[in-house]
């Protein structure tokens, strides 16, 4: 543990850490937005109906949609 502590105490440019964290988040966020925008509308509709499935009388509709 001492080794780790020493290494971290002498870490250079520690101020950059928060900036790096922010950048990681931004990159992740942009990629995510891109993916989400690209998602297929029908699929999205289907997933968003998952809680309602049980209310439908025919579980068949579910069987069809998952294949």
């Amino acid at each position: 543990m001492k080794i780790v502590t020493n290494a971290l105490e002498n870490i250079a440019n520690i101020q950059i850490f928060p900036i790096l964290g922010l950048l990681i988040f931004l990159v992740f966020f942009i990629i995510m937005i891109y993916r989400v925008v690209k998602m297929d509308r029908n699929e999205v509709d289907e997933i968003s109906r998952l809680p309602l499935e049980k209310d439908q009388t025919e579980p068949k509709s579910y069987a069809e949609s998952s294949h």
Partner: protein, 715 residues
């Protein structure tokens, strides 16, 4: 493909539902009790376990972990199997989870009034209970994750992601914040000290709000609002974006609880920036919840369940707009330490958590008992009582918060504090405290109506322990054609790991520099460890929950420096395990209470009489009397052990000091007691009050010490 038949178990959700109602009532009644104690301080005169400082942690813990906790588990155990088309992974684990959690709550309800407390807000429970929480939480996690693994649907619905994020993050928060060194079965010291302890605590505290009160309830919202309105959520895409943004950003926001404190500026700035960013994902959730009801507003007019959901989600929107505003330094300068914070959290607790829980209960009961709700009228009455109760609670406290803060900061033309006596700023807001009691009473009356309605509904129906369903098996060997987020949704374990990574980044970026860079906590040569007597006194201060009303953090404002003395420095807190910054000033700040030249300095005899009867010393005081501290003998059986524990944690007592600690303690106690006896007070050396006075008179004095020589050198 062939359909598989399986059953959903309703027993556990029903048990959790009943526990939610029971503990909700208990938690709120304790809240009402302490609200009354603030306007009638001598109400429980002399009963230690009913004093404000001990009951306030019980109130917060009961509402958060017992009421909302059981509410969250009700939702999880009901919705998870139905969304994943499979029973929960293990009924046994579910039962262990249920009974384990209730046992923990009972343990909390016993230990907190007894004063067994770590004094870190919402993490007050001592180490054996902390370990039990960790174990039960793991049991819950295994059950949840394994249920997602053996599901019969390809994709995991958004509610479940929120449940998974809750499990992962609460586990990390709880473990990191609870690392303590035990001294005895009921006493431990945190491994972190002072400012660092404060950073860890508020990283935990804020994210307890985020991941215990918010994310699981967003999951609840995403399941029960579509169910109750019988329409899918407004935007599934929005739910993906706001989920990831929320868990990524929330974890950074903790330092906004420590603005203008001795925490380094960079950490404060980080907390502010991320708090402001939080508006976006929070409102994403609110918009998604409310717009799901588009085209169903006619139903909202009639259905008490939807009404409650609408007010709940609106309260969420209000609280999550207010939160970022409160984290702006200029606003925080006014709001912090006042009743504004109390109003803010109750919009969240009474509005968001309360209303969503009640809505869920009214929706679930008829379904679990295969009947109709006994009375829609009563449920509507509950809705109005809860809504008006919440407003009568919060609005007066906003008013009290502004008023008191402005009074603290007001100067006369000559440049003196206009209200130099703290008590003037207290008496001014007492009428608001009365109205708060009215608001709380209305809210609890609503809950009592709900209990009556629930009992009647249960009686007229018959319980359905299991429900049948069928679905095709999920063939996981089939190649997955999906890309992007949908593919990720199909992999629960990877999803869990990514959620963990997301929340760890924020935590580590704040902690590593804070703990490793020495310049973040500049040491002060004259600051020395507490003497054994002061340490014992400090532990009494912690036991009595003094931090629930008194801060120990003078912010660098003219008004505070003038009132309390020099502002608090990070280096002064290095021996504070745990830190005692506090979060609310119902009474004055005590950070420099012992400084003889300060305007607040009071002699030992004053403190003695004040603990015996605060009203005798300050007629209008709302502090309760502490006769038991005067009567009880100080328990010194663990003093040496406490010193040893501190030495282990790196506190620089001289070698072998633990063996001399008791002598040192007795000498100092005799000195203080003799001083009191000389002043005509009949008191013995070994009373608890002597230790507490020793601690109070030490507060804030170190930086005024002229010599840097060790205070232990003669011993």
């Amino acid at each position: 493909m062939e359909l598989q038949k399986f059953t959903y178990d309703n027993r556990l959700s029903s048990l959790f539902l009943k526990a939610t109602i029971l503990w909700g009532l208990v938690g709120m009644l304790v809240g009402l009790t302490i609200a009354i104690e603030l306007i009638w301080p001598t109400m429980t005169n002399g009963i230690s376990w009913l004093s404000f400082g001990r009951l306030r942690p019980l109130h917060t813990n009961a509402v958060i972990f017992a009421f909302v906790g059981n509410g969250m588990f009700t939702a999880i155990y009901y919705s998870t199997p139905r969304l994943l088309k499979t029973p929960m992974y293990s009924e046994l684990l579910g039962r262990i989870h249920f009974w384990g959690w209730q046992l923990i709550i009972v343990a909390a309800a016993i230990t907190l009034p007894l004063g067994i407390s770590v004094s870190k807000e919402y993490a007050e429970l001592e180490w054996p209970i902390d370990i039990a929480i960790a174990l039960v939480w793991v049991v819950f996690g295994i059950n949840l994750i394994m249920t997602t693994v053996k599901r019969r649907v390809k994709h995991i619905y958004v509610a479940i992601w929120f449940y998974i994020a809750t499990f992962v993050t609460v586990a990390v928060l709880h473990i990191v914040n609870s690392i303590n060194l035990p001294v005895s079965f009921f006493k431990s010291y945190p491994v972190y000290a002072g400012v660092q302890d404060a950073l860890v605590q508020w990283w935990y505290g804020h994210n307890a709000v985020a991941f215990f009160l918010t994310t699981p309830y967003l999951g609840l919202m995403y399941y029960f609002i579509p169910k109750a309105a019988n329409r899918p959520i407004y935007s599934y895409k929005l739910s993906i974006i706001h989920f990831w943004a929320l868990i990524f950003i929330y974890i950074w926001a903790g330092p906004h609880h420590l603005l203008y404190s001795a925490l380094p500026d960079w950490a404060q700035a980080l907390g502010v920036v991320f708090s402001i960013m939080l508006i976006a994902p929070s409102w994403g959730g609110m918009i998604n919840g409310l717009l799901t009801l588009r085209g169903a507003w006619d139903k909202v007019r009639e259905d008490p369940v939807l009404k409650m959901f609408v007010v709940g989600v609106t309260a969420y929107g209000m609280a999550t707009f207010e939160g970022p505003m409160l984290s702006l330094k200029s606003v925080n300068a006014i709001s912090h330490f006042t009743d504004w914070t109390i109003a803010h959290v109750h919009i969240g607790a009474l509005g968001w958590n309360g209303m969503l829980t009640f809505g869920m209960i009214y929706w679930l009961l008829p379904r679990l008992y295969k009947t109709k709700l006994f009375s829609i009228k009563l449920a509507n009455a509950h809705f109005w009582l809860a809504t008006t109760g919440m407003l009568f609670f919060a609005i007066p406290l906003y008013f009290a918060g502004f008023t008191q803060s402005l009074m603290w900061k007001e100067f006369t033309e000559e440049g003196f504090l206009k209200y130099p006596n703290f008590i003037e700023t207290v008496t001014q807001i007492l009428p608001m405290y009365w109205i708060r009691v009215l608001g709380g009473t209305l809210y609890i009356t609503g809950v009592i109506l709900m209990i009556y309605n629930a009992v009647k509904t249960i009686k007229q129906g018959s319980f359905i322990p299991e429900e049948q369903d069928e679905a095709p098996a999920l063939d996981i060997r089939k190649p997955n054609p999906d890309k992007g987020h949908r593919r990720l949704e199909g992999k629960p374990v990877l999803f869990t790991v990514l959620s963990l990574v997301a929340i760890l980044i924020g935590g580590l970026v704040e902690f590593i520099p804070m703990f490793m860079i020495k310049s973040n906590v500049p040491t002060i040569a004259s600051v020395q460890p507490y003497t054994p007597l002061e340490l014992e006194g400090r532990d009494i201060y912690i036991r009595e929950g003094c931090y629930t009303c008194h801060s120990q953090m003078i912010r660098p404002f003219r008004s505070e420096v003038e009132r309390y003395g020099d502002y608090t420095k990070a280096g002064e807190t290095v021996y504070d395990r745990p830190f005692q910054f506090g979060s609310k000033r119902t009474g004055p700040d005590l950070a420099r209470e012992g400084v003889k030249t300060s305007r607040n300095y009071k002699p030992d005899a004053w403190h003695y009489n004040h603990f015996m009867s605060p009203q005798k010393m300050v007629a209008e005081s709302i502090m309760p009397p502490y006769p038991w501290i005067i009567e009880n003998d100080l328990n010194t059986s663990t003093t040496a052990g406490k010193i040893r524990a501190m030495m282990k944690l790196g506190v620089p007592y001289p070698d072998g000091f633990d063996t001399k600690a008791l002598d040192h303690l007795q000498k100092q106690a005799n000195q203080i007691a003799q001083g009191l006896r000389d002043g005509g007070i009949d008191v013995e050396d070994q009373k608890e009050v002597i230790a507490l006075i020793a601690y109070i008179q030490r507060l804030g004095t170190d930086i005024h010490r002229e010599s840097n020589e060790s205070i232990f050198s003669e011993n």
